[in-house]
């Protein structure tokens, strides 16, 4: 009833091409922002921040990054965990090398370094396509993790081989290290998510995003109509890796604090983020957020139900969780191969006609 284009007059091209053309959507979007910035930081506690919100926000960044590469540009990557590790270690090296610089710059710098590494590993994509490329990105995954394990320079020769984040502040509020408040962790991740999601959304509907999608739909045809595949693929790798690198940097510095590379950024992480993208919806920014939320919430929920309410042993719950996640992925792919984002689109279509569908 409220979800209508009718009566919502556009008087300029700018208005006509805005992200949310329907007023109800705009209101909803601003409401979400107000709740996220104005209410949640004041009521959040450690459990909610560490178990739900912070991992959700960080995975959302990584999922948007992978979605740019896989969903928009059609290059399947299984190296996300490795690129997150690059972000984390770059952030660590920058943090320890330049302690006086603000951490925001460290995180962005880590993203830029990861973008460079991403371009390097993206080069073969010009020759290798499809599954072959997916497997080729595994080379990045295993090589990078091995590199960070074996070269002591990356973890500053620490005895444990781990890296741990020193305390850093923004406006004298600690955001990394053990003294960080739940709301500070949440806020820094939220700001990154909002800014990056905005950038991603606008990149993907501009020239560059269109050239990515042309490459995804059929690269030879795209080349014939004048899209430069070298430029399109490498920019997709660069932008995607930039996002993933920032996610890795935040994952290490804000969320975990101390990281062992094989454990935190192993192949399982690559698959987890790929699942987020698939379940959320390939080629959709909202889908990345939805997929991340879904796969972060699901284990928490299952754990609370199985271990908390039914009193089962934790290992049994963990195995059952594997089964449920696996089954859900299959069910999703059968029922709706385009993910949560498509369900959302269908719901919105229905809502436009409601309550008079005929």
């Amino acid at each position: 009833m409220f979800y209508r284009e009718a009566g919502d007059f556009k008087t300029s091209y700018g208005e006509d091409s805005q992200t949310f053309p329907i007023k109800f959507d705009r209101v909803r979007y601003y409401t979400v922002l107000v709740v996220a910035f104005g209410i949640i930081p004041f009521v959040i506690n450690d459990y909610w921040a560490n178990a739900v919100f912070v991992p959700f926000l960080i995975y959302a960044i990584a999922a948007i990054g992978l979605n740019i590469l896989t969903g928009y540009c059609g290059q399947v990557s299984l190296g996300t965990g490795g690129f997150m590790a690059v972000g984390a270690y770059a952030c660590y090296k920058l943090m320890t090398a330049f302690p006086d610089v603000n951490i925001v710059f460290h995180v962005i710098g880590a993203g830029l370094i990861t973008a460079g590494v991403g371009v390097l590993f993206g080069l073969p994509s010009l020759r290798i396509k499809g599954f072959y490329l997916a497997v080729a990105t595994l080379a990045a995954q295993f090589f990078l993790v091995w590199l960070f394990n074996k070269v002591p320079w990356f973890y500053n020769y620490s005895a444990s081989g781990q890296i741990s984040a020193p305390e850093r502040t923004i406006l004298s509020i600690p955001v990394t290290g053990p003294n960080t408040d739940a709301w500070a962790k949440y806020m820094i991740c939220l700001i990154f998510v909002v800014v990056l999601a905005w950038i991603a959304r606008n990149l993907t509907r501009g020239t560059i995003g269109r050239s990515w999608m042309a490459i995804r739909d059929m690269d030879i045809a795209a080349e014939i109509i004048g899209v430069n595949p070298l430029k399109a693929k490498l920019t997709a790798f660069a932008v995607s890796s930039f996002f993933v690198g920032i996610a890795g940097a935040l994952f290490f510095s804000v969320y975990l604090g101390a990281v062992e590379v094989g454990e935190a950024f192993g192949i399982q992480k690559s698959f987890l983020i790929l699942f987020m993208v698939i379940i959320g919806g390939l080629g959709s920014i909202f889908g990345s957020l939805a997929g991340a939320a879904f796969l972060v919430l699901l284990p928490v929920l299952l754990k609370n139900v199985l271990v908390g309410a039914l009193g089962w042993p934790t290992d049994l719950a963990a195995h059952l969780e594997l089964m449920i996640v696996g089954a859900l992925i299959i069910i999703f792919l059968i029922a709706e191969p385009h993910g949560l984002a498509q369900l959302w689109r269908v719901a919105k279509e229905k809502l436009r006609l409601w309550p008079f569908p005929h």
Binding site: K150, I224, P313, L322, L328, I329, I334
Partner: protein, 331 residues
């Protein structure tokens, strides 16, 4: 001949044997990819599941014992019998066939005509599901597999090659199990080739691999072929599971050999059975030799990534793999 050279030869022989094991897993991939165009990520987990089932049946474990105990509060673990290895293997083959039927019935049937990437994702989901199922059914502790395969160093080879080197050289160390694995792989490949060349089902399988629609139009049942090919892949997975399980125990890491089989496939080409074998041997020898020569200089454990990087570099020059069909692209 210097001892250093002889050690290198020994490393190479062991690499060849390891390569045979990789090839066994890769074989399962190729079969399914040829018959249905599905890139089956779950192949490694199939091997794990088959091995778990085999051990569980052999030792008379009660399936889902852990779950039953948690829900009903009982303390059951074993039926209290031990099956002979042959019976357990036959039963496991039965389980794998049932699994193939279920996979076809509940997953593949619904995903006909989807893009390959969607099918690939579905097999990743299947891998997770089977991993959880295997753990819940049989428990996640490390199990030892014993189906009566010979193990340990082959003394005969050691004694008969000791004369090659000087005093410090005691002959080549070759595990008997690896030799058995190589023989089994050879038999498996030959029988698969005979099957696909000369049997009715084998021909139907090749027809499906060639063109789904044309195969359908001459009256070949796609669904039957899929069940068939997944059953064969399950059988190959069982063989691989037995070999790897005997070598290093039945545990989660078994499913990771699937990842090792991927570069093997890329080298050999996804559609070629000989390619899987040759690719496996190249990767096996390559990573062992690299670890032996370059490994100590860079801190070791290069086996984790060498195969992938080799495949990556290789593919840049030959994108379809060694024996893959030439990629023709049209708008």
């Amino acid at each position: 001949m210097t001892d250093q050279f002889l050690y290198a030869v020994e490393v190479m022989i062991n690499g060849l044997m390891a390569g045979v094991l990789y090839a066994l897993v890769a074989l399962g991939f190729v079969l399914i990819f040829k018959a249905s165009g599905i890139f089956n990520y779950a192949q490694g987990v199939l091997a794990l599941f088959a091995a778990l089932t085999l051990v569980g049946l052999q030792q008379g474990q009660i399936p889902f014992a852990h779950l039953i105990n948690a829900v009903l509060g009982t303390e059951v673990t074993h039926f209290g019998w031990h099956l002979p290895a042959a019976v357990a293997i036959v039963l496991t083959i039965g389980v794998m066939i049932v699994l193939a039927i279920l996979i076809e019935r509940f997953i593949l049937k619904h995903l006909v005509n989807q893009e390959p990437i969607i099918l690939f994702m579905a097999t990743i989901g299947l891998a997770y599901f089977l991993e959880g199922l295997g753990d819940i059914m049989w428990g996640s502790d490390i199990k030892t597999m014993d189906v009566g395969l010979p193990q340990g160093a082959s003394v005969w080879i050691e004694d008969n090659s000791a004369w090659l080197g000087g005093d410090g050289f005691y002959g080549f160390f070759v595990d008997k199990l690896d030799i058995v694995a190589a023989l089994v792989a050879a038999v498996l490949v030959i029988s698969l080739m005979i099957f696909s060349q000369y049997s009715k089902q084998g021909r139907a399988l090749r027809a499906v691999a060639d063109d789904h629609q044309a195969a359908l139009s001459v009256g070949i049942s796609l669904r039957f072929i899929w069940v068939l090919v997944w059953s064969i892949a399950g059988f190959v997975a069982l063989v691989a599971g037995i070999m790897w399980g005997t070598k290093s125990g039945v545990q989660f890491s078994l499913s990771l050999i699937a990842l090792k089989a991927l570069p093997v496939l890329m080298l050999g080409g996804f559609t070629s059975i000989p390619g899987a074998i040759v690719g496996g041997l190249i990767i096996g020898v390559g990573e062992k030799l690299f670890e032996f020569t370059i490994g100590p200089m860079v801190g070791g454990a290069t086996e984790n990534w060498f195969a992938y990087v080799l495949a990556l570099v290789f593919l840049v020059f030959r994108p379809q793999g060694l024996f893959g069909e030439k990629i023709i692209e049209r708008v």
